[in-house]
């Protein structure tokens, strides 16, 4: 059944919600600024509002309703206890500027989380402030830039970014007042050492790399890469989007990475929420520690505090100490695994990805051979011969009950399909997904491709016209 847009509801707003507070006069001075026409926000009774949004929710796929094999997005199960944790009144209903002695509990938890993320990354100095991964990239680059400036190397403004990188990497560099140079990947999808050497010079500020990379492969030359970059006087920024492959098993800091952001909404299971909120703490080594943003969470004696000023800091990067509710969930996830079990996240994630790769590799083209880490990369090369493209495979998966994988990323292969199962999927589910993929491959080979081009047919909507949306954008309902 169709659910109208709120603005289409036929009837006028009923009596509004009964609100608490002081039902008195406002000041005469303020009255002079009264809004002249109402905003036309339609008001619904509570029964109608609930039904509207519950029905909308039913048109969504979520990790709770099915498999979500989005490569590089780490769509893992989001524990329900974490939702209870963040709703404790003593964590939900507190103000960032209330007296510090009345917020020791939350500060203690955040301080502890800083320590844990430092330990997990091998980079002991941590800021929790960045609001998302891309924000973490910016903050990390700010710190790198500040460190170079402190060395008197204001000319180092070039950032090397592999062509397989997330789009946020170059965008963050730009925002940080730096410019990027793209490194062409080697034939194995990894960083080409020669290419790297060619571009390293005394204007280079940093290499931004993702390890494992977005083709799901570990950059086995990592030690040499870091050595080369450091030797050239630059620093290595690690994009932690793929940390799920390493958590508890190996540490970026040990490999020579200087600075790493961590997507807690990936690795540490905080819910994606249909596009955020996320959290992008940044962990750095001692050399970069002086440049961490403010406010910082510090412990002196038995007291925790937010320290707002520090001369060497890159300054404030957010109007708040961080996305606290998101960070609390991450903390609870780490606590559930603890030191005994944390490595099992990466282990099962990598096991699952290799299992899928192995089951599909005879039926789909695998551009880069070998072990994958937490995600595996396929392309549509074999299906394209039958007129079927990645997009068709993706949409057909919807009819078969799955969310599609990440498509057309990374850009270094044609028709990419990047599959990341995460550690929280069962073998039953992986098998069902692989069976569906094999069915699609079968259909291609049998020439039974109409249903692939027409897909999806089962959900609430068929393929949507994105071109029309972009050409004549309608972003709001007309009044």
């Amino acid at each position: 059944h169709e659910e109208p847009v709120l603005f289409e509801h036929a009837h006028e707003a009923p009596e509004s919600i009964n609100l608490p507070g002081v039902d008195g006069d406002i000041s005469p001075e303020l009255s002079a600024f009264a809004r002249k026409t109402p905003a036309s926000i339609p008001g619904l009774s509570e029964p109608e509002a609930v039904r509207h949004f519950v029905r909308l929710s039913q048109w969504n796929h979520g990790i709770e309703t099915g498999f979500y094999p989005l490569g590089s997005c780490t769509m893992k199960y989001n524990p329900r206890v974490n939702e209870q944790v963040v709703r404790l009144p003593g964590l939900a209903h507190i103000h960032p500027d209330q007296p510090e002695e009345t917020t020791q509990g939350v500060l203690e938890l955040m301080y502890e989380l800083q320590g844990w993320l430092g330990e997990i990354s091998g980079l002991p100095y941590v800021t929790l402030q960045p609001a998302a991964g891309a924000h973490g990239e910016l903050v990390g680059l700010m710190m790198i830039r500040a460190a170079l400036d402190a060395r008197g190397q204001q000319h180092r403004r070039k950032v090397l970014v592999p062509d397989s990188a997330h789009g946020t990497n170059p965008a963050s560099a730009t925002l940080c007042g730096m410019h990027t140079v793209e490194l062409k990947s080697g034939a194995d999808g990894r960083i080409d050492l020669e290419e790297l050497k060619r571009h390293l010079d005394d204007e280079t500020a940093a290499l931004m790399m993702t390890n494992p990379n977005t083709a799901g492969a570990f950059e086995s030359d990592i030690k040499e890469i870091c050595r080369l970059v450091h030797e050239a006087g630059a620093l290595v920024y690690g994009d932690g989007a793929n940390l799920n492959a390493l958590v508890g098993v190996a540490r970026p800091g040990d490999m020579g990475i200087d600075c790493l952001h961590i997507n807690v909404h990936k690795t540490f299971s905080t819910p994606h929420g249909g596009g955020g909120p996320g959290g992008g703490p940044v962990a750095v080594n001692e050399a970069l520690a002086p440049y961490l943003p403010v406010p910082r969470i510090e412990k002196h004696g038995d007291t925790y505090s937010l320290v707002h000023s520090c001369e060497t800091s890159v300054g404030p990067v957010l109007g708040a100490p961080g996305q606290i509710g998101v960070l609390l969930r991450a903390s609870a996830y780490i606590a559930a695994f603890g030191r005994q079990h944390l490595h099992r996240i990466a282990e099962d994630a990598v096991l699952n990805a290799n299992y899928v790769l192995n089951r599909l590799k005879g039926r789909y083209h695998v551009p880069f051979d070998g072990l994958c880490k937490h995600e595996c990369l396929l392309t549509d090369e074999w299906q394209e011969k039958h007129g079927v493209k990645t997009i068709d495979i993706a949409k057909r998966l919807i009819d078969l009950g799955f969310h599609p994988m990440t498509v057309y990323f990374p850009l270094i292969v044609h028709g990419a399909m990047l599959i990341e199962p995460t550690e929280t999927e069962s073998r039953e589910t992986l098998d069902a997904f692989c069976d569906a993929m094999i069915d699609i491959a079968d259909a291609c080979e049998a020439g039974d491709t109409a249903m692939l081009h027409d897909a999806p047919l089962k959900p609430f909507r068929r393929r949507l016209d994105e071109t029309q949306a972009a050409r004549k954008p309608v972003l709001v309902w007309p009044k």
Binding site: G21, P38, F53, P170, G273, A335, L351, V476
Partner: protein, 448 residues
């Protein structure tokens, strides 16, 4: 581990299918020197779910919170009423555990909610269009400055000193690594002196950023600024921190803002020690394609039915990479769902009541202040600055109030390092009852 579905025999069978002997073999491409010993990380012991609840409950109990304390705190974060329905809706897994709606056919729930959100935010701010959220207000303000630079192809940014110091600091920080001037205009009062602001505009100015109501709660006429911006061909950027104001006072859009940015935390989102909140970004139609962040648009499906998609993505980092309008990727999707649910429950009338009660509470308090405490003059929405004889008097009062389960305000210097330590930034919402104001006034006696 309750989150891991495999049994050991599953793992064994899967390893056999892959053709390796042990899970660690799958990590053979990581140099051996980097493998860490299991259990060697200095983390806590694995906790049962019950132990997790106990741990966090104990920590939470160390914090005072708004169910046991009265809040007169603002400065960008407000204790407004959050209906139970909002929390229920955003707790539903279909919203909570969904990804960014890149696959629109199975994401129409999130997308329609975003479209309704954008429409409501545009209407409330009086602007033409809204995006689908930013992180929060400070970074949204910085992004507004960047967008104004793109639109005008000029680089100088003028910032009123009455904008929330945190928004100013983050904006200044963002701009500091880019070419172009950044100017902050000192106000010399707890309000906005538009003459001074206008005086700082020159031909190279990309935009002027003011806050309305400003950081000190002051409400003022933006018409002179609009005229000055027109004259200088720069953009007028209006920041705000408590959007509930615009159900009562004239909106930024009606006053001519080109870009309006701020916080949507007041729309059904708990204070949460500062986050996750909701950054809002709105602008005039003609600047739409220079907006940062995600945007949801109307379209039709292959069967001709109405539907929604993320659109204008060619502005974005995953397509345009270093030339993107912003690096933003994850934003605050779920908070948009919270806000649209909140607004649908409230409607014009409810939103207006929230605003009236918030303003009336302040008026009731300010009108009855004793002689030894002065409030800033002029029209204020729900926030103002109280001035005490000295910091000792103020701090005596704060301590006494805290003792009586009342957080009476934020010492101004805590947010604005430049302020004298005898001022107090106070805010009221509809969660303040008449009795709370009476208690507040009684407590002021100790500041004599």
């Amino acid at each position: 581990m309750r989150f891991l579905p495999h049994t050991d025999s599953d793992r064994q069978a899967m390893l056999e299918s892959i053709g390796v002997a042990a899970i660690r073999d799958l990590f053979a491409d990581i140099p051996a020197e980097f493998h860490i010993e299991q259990g060697s990380l200095a983390l806590g012991d694995a906790l049962s779910e019950a132990a997790i609840m106990r741990k966090f409950t104990r920590a939470a109990d160390k914090n005072r919170n708004a169910t046991n304390t009265r809040y007169f705190l603002g400065g960008g974060t407000y204790h407004h009423f959050v209906p139970a329905v909002v929390d229920y809706i955003i707790s539903r897994g279909e919203f909570l555990t969904a990804y960014t709606p890149y696959q629109p056919e199975i994401s129409q729930g999130t997308l329609q909610a975003l479209f309704e959100f954008q429409t409501m935010i545009a209407r409330l701010t009086g602007m033409d269009v809204s995006n689908a959220s930013m992180y929060e207000a400070a970074t949204a303000t910085a992004e507004a400055a960047l967008m104004a630079r793109r639109v005008t192809r000029k680089s100088r940014v003028v910032m009123a000193g009455s904008v929330n110091p945190r928004y100013r600091a983050v904006t200044a920080n963002y701009l500091s690594r880019l070419d172009g001037d950044y100017v902050e205009v000192d106000m010399g009062c707890f309000g906005t002196d538009l003459d001074r602001v206008i005086g700082a505009i020159d031909a190279s100015t990309a935009c002027v950023i003011v806050q309305y109501p400003d950081f000190y709660g002051s409400v003022y006429d933006l018409a002179p600024l609009r005229a000055a911006c027109d004259a200088a061909k720069c953009l007028m950027v209006v920041a705000f921190s408590d959007i509930s104001a615009f159900a009562l006072i004239e909106s930024p859009g009606a006053l001519g803002a080109d870009i309006a940015v701020g916080s949507g935390q007041s729309l059904g989102i708990p204070m949460g020690f500062g986050g996750p909140h909701l950054g809002l970004f709105t602008c005039k139609q003609q600047y739409m394609r220079q907006m940062p962040g995600r945007v949801c648009g109307l379209t039709t499906d292959a069967g001709g039915k109405r539907g929604f998609v993320l659109t204008l993505s060619t502005r974005e980092q995953h397509i345009r990479r270093e030339k993107a309008t912003s690096n933003i990727c994850s934003n605050q999707g779920l908070m948009c769902t919270a806000a649209v649910t909140y607004m649908a429950l409230m409607g014009d009338e409810g939103l207006n009541t929230v605003a009236r009660h918030s303003a009336a509470a302040l008026q009731s308090l300010v009108a009855r202040l004793p002689a030894h405490v002065r409030a800033a003059q002029g029209a204020r929405y729900n926030e103002t600055v109280l001035s005490f004889a000295d910091s000792a008097a103020r701090d005596r009062f704060l301590a006494a109030a805290k003792e009586r389960a009342l957080f009476a305000g934020i010492p101004l210097e805590q947010i604005d390092a430049a302020a004298e330590p005898r001022h107090l930034l106070i805010a009221t919402t509809e969660m303040v009852e008449a009795d709370d104001i009476n208690d507040y006034l009684d407590l002021l006696e100790v500041a004599k």
